[in-house]
Amino acid sequence: MNPRFLIASLAALALLGGCAKEKTSYGDAKGVETLTNQFGSTDLQMMAESMARSMLTAPVIVSANLPIVTVQEVRNKTSEYIDTRGITDSIRSELQKGGKVRFAVDQAAMNQQVEELKRQQNSGLYDKESAAEMGRMVGAQYRLEGNIMSIVKQVKDSKDVYYKLNLQLWNIRNGLLEWSDEKEIRKTTTRG
């Protein structure tokens, strides 16, 4: 057999073999994800939904007329890396859809807010009448903060993870705790 033909055939086979191994498909973003027992999309979605729904029925939210809330990042007290900004953003989106609260700019977005105000006021590019004025921002009445913690137990073939998200809504003016709730999740992985 021609050696060139042999090499070309082998290369083609290797390429085909490589291609055959990979398969990509779209999945259900809201489906139950149990690939590992680390914090996952199902945990994030369940926690955000449960907490937001609970907060929407808090007396302080029901009785007030669109109270203004600022959201502080959830503190990660677990032993793994969790993008807590994702939890905060999901909770805020759920609450926003509920239409019962308004949100004031939070600490994380304050720099961009101030920069935009300065740009409109000081760059000389904007019509003075339509430019956003300094000193017109509205302060929040309530502060939403929380923690996520975990307890991990592992023996030879079994790993148990318990997550708890605790959220609190504080009245900024008088420092009173107006609402608090928890969501717990337990996941167990066994090998064999």
Binding site: K30, V32, T42, M46, E49, A52, L56, T57, V62, K97
Partner: protein
Amino acid sequence: MKHTGLILVVALSLLAAGCASKKGFEQPGYAFGCPIGEAKVSSMDDLVKVKTVSEGRRTTIQATELRCTKTGDLMKIDANLNNDSRSVKRIAYKFRWIDREGMRAADEESWKPLMLYENSNMVINTISPSNKAADFRLILRSEE
């Protein structure tokens, strides 16, 4: 004679009122506090059939009771799920929210995994995502 007639009329009125209150439910279009629209619901079983949907893999877990109430302008729902088998069952559930025009009132919820011990009941509860949600369906699937 006049008195006898009057007593008879009053007694018949009371009887009619008593019968009327036993028929149907407290509010038209509602059963056990849950919105039913035009559906004919005369028992808890009927309500569960109207409100529960199975999607994906079928589960033997069944909703046995549904109760709804209002908290402010939001709907609060309690659903009792029953596992009458002799083994632990794993399911996922979600609620689908419908507005007054029959359109989706909110984005599709995420599936929520749930474990039920053998021969046990569990009450799941939820609150509607906004006051646009006027009706709902409880959707169940097996996770085994």
